[in-house]
Amino acid sequence: MSFPAQTLGRRSVYLLPTREGLWFGATLLVLLLAAINYGNGLAYAITFLLASLATLSSTAAQRNLLGLSVHEGLPRANFVGSPVTFRVIIVNPSALPRFGITITPERGSGRTFDLAAHEHRTVDIPWQTRRRGPVTPPRVRLSSRYPFGLLRAFSRHIPLEDPAIAYPAPAPHAPLPSGRPSPDSEQEALGVSAEGGGDFVGLSALRPGESPRHIHWKAVAAGRGLMVKRFAGLAEREVWLTLPPVGDIEERLSRLCRQVLDAEQQGYRYGLTVDGPPLVPNAGPLHLEACLSTLALYEDTVR
């Protein structure tokens, strides 16, 4: 799942001399002054040749970036304070190998790599977060100093479009509210849980959102479809997590975040009501992510 590729055309590649290139230019000036002063035709010739060589190397410099396309992968969320990750895939669609391509986000250091013909490379860009909520992706820039290090070809800023999400930082400690038996009649009757910890009682069909941890792979191999091992649960409990009514909103969200994480870890089925439609009790990574995202985006919906 990626956004449409952005391909570097001629108008989006620029050239500027590097610092070495400027030194090179200064040397040329010295050569030219000497040629003029001594009226030395050979010195003139060498000066002009050097200048032409450096100028013409710009075509190779430009071509090194042209036609590269930048695809965007799915960004990885993280908690506030830890870096989220944006994923960029750089594709060389041509038969021309590319050398010394550097990808640099707006802030932070770049990464340099070569691309063989028709090769592509995935680059993860860590991005520090300070605030909870959606993280605007950085703009990235491709550049290279190929072939002689005298010129630097660089692309325009390429905006990434898919924002990452910074979850609220979990509070260090937040006790879970007391659970109550699941209202789910079927579950109650069976007295089983999808989570581990109890005695194995049998198999049931996998429900969407359930952890794949307990899939009975032998049953899958036997062609009976995706079955889940059920265990008689000490842990078969259900909690509803809600925003505490008073306190600093960020602090409350942090506590809630901790509760969500603990509930998931301890094998609860948990539901979440903050605002809007409640998330019905469930468990598993997808449910966890949904809950954390709701917390991350909470402020936006209130204001």
Binding site: G41, L49, L50, S94
Partner: protein
Amino acid sequence: MKTPSAREAGPQALPAILVALIACSFVPLITHLPWWTWAAAALFVAWRAGGLWLRLPSRTLRWVLVLGVTALVYRRFHTLLGERPGMSLLVLLVGLKALEARSQRDSVILVLLSYIALLGSLLVHPSLFIGLYALAFLVASFVTLSVISQPVGLSMRRRWRQAFILLLQAIPLALIAYVVFPRIAGGLWRSAPVPIGQTGLTAVLRPGSLSDLLSSRKVAMRVIFHGTPPPKSQRYFRAYVLAATNGRVWREGPPEGKVGRSRGQPRRRYTVLLNPTGNRVLPALDWPVDAPRHATIMAGGVVRAQHRIRHILRYRLESAPVRRGSLAPAERREDLALPSDLDPRIVALARRFASRGASPATIVHRALAYFVRHHFVYTLTPPAMGRDPVRRFLFHVRAGYCEDYAAAFATLMRAAGLPTRVVVGFFGGEFNPDGGDVIVREWDAHSWTEVWIGGVWRRVDPTAVVAPGALHEGVGALRRLLEERAGQSGSYRSWWGTFRHQLRLWQDAATTNWDNWVIDYNARRQAALLRRLGWKNAGLASLGIVTLTLGVLVASLLKTLGGRTRRPQDPALRAYGLYCGRLARIGLARRDSEGPRDYLARAVAARPDLDLQMTAITAAYIEARYAQRSAALARLRLRVRSFRPRAQPPRSVRP
């Protein structure tokens, strides 16, 4: 992949090609700089190369070394400015820079310093060979830059190829810049390197002074005659007129005297390309009519430039065969002066020539006849002449080189009462059919005499009388004999000799063109060339503007054209395109909206006679294009090649 840790921590090994490049940039200078600059620079580089296991000098020690080498250079030259001290310092500092180089940037700076060193060699000897050397050097330097900026990923072969192709592209561009870039006459701060190791004519003639030049092939000047060149026997280029003698040595007389005017026919017009001599002499054929710019005609009819000649100099002259004027009494005394201790036998001999009221012409004739009658010999290696060279030459040795003949003859004529002087210059030269010019080498140095007869100075060349063959045709042969004696093998008549001679002529032609278009391409030559190309009045400002415009134009063109990459087309598509084109020619063009199948259906409806072929081609195309089958591609190509639809279907099939 790159290892960032190696780049940051500690110095890495210098790329081998960089070390080689630095060495190459200094090789042409080796003989011009003190040996210890090399030794020290090599030591520093070796220290650096061994630095991976040897401890590299600390920062303080490096500064001490910098001060140390500067002091050494100062002690040797007593200055830090100027070519040789500057280049010595450059060599040492490059060595030190190599010692401390640790980053990519330092390596690039080393490359840039090597360009400056190359410039030094270009200034010292701007020859064709150095030009080719510099060209190769530039390619190597770009390979080095490539290695520095992209240490891995590319093969060396690929780098060399890239740099070489770049050079081929750069040459036309540089050529345009070379032609149109405005040349500033006179330079910026008016100092030019003094050519090193000049030999050549001197203003003093003593036994052996010219025969020393015999072994020098070095080109003294090139003469391009406008119109037919005079025959070799008439090509006397005068450089010095020597009037004062002490019996052994001839020197220039006092500078007074009338200049006179050149007269007579035929006039010769010619251009001289004079190699730098370090003195002010401009050799000229016979009697120049007018002095070239920044030069004057002196009393003896010889031309002197205002400044010492440090670059190749080009000057145009017109010469006449005689010069009219009068001989002032003081000059006459000067041209008759003889040392007081002149041998009486010489005086007696001269009296015999002048006896019975002989005319000046008769005196000259008798003297020359004396040489012939007594079997005087022309030799390239005359024996030592001792303290009284003229007496010894005339009465004992009777063999000598041109300087001996000229000195003896002038002494005899003076003793006989004819004002006479010795002239030193060049004789003959070799006509080069490839360059169209006459090449005058140092071994063409010659001396002869001029005798005042009938109100003009008449040229009398006693050597030509004694050894006409040697001087006019056989000089080359004599020289080859000399070369053979010097240990070079091969007879000059052999095909090898001929071939070598031809090679030398080609080489000389190339050198002439080189001198014309590289060494001597100055403001005047530039204007002349541009005028010939149809651009009149190209001034400094307009040339500058044109250069700038061209530069901007090239830069912008590169920006727009440079990135154009050829899109590799699918071979199946190309073949199918050919097929569509052929159908279009018979009025069945494919519409933009039509896929291959729709197109086929419409084409078959219009031309059922082509059904079979078209169906096969379309099927092969679809298979080749979308199923990527190479067999289908081959089939498609074959079918398309033989698909030649006629505009009208054959009658029998027409419904």
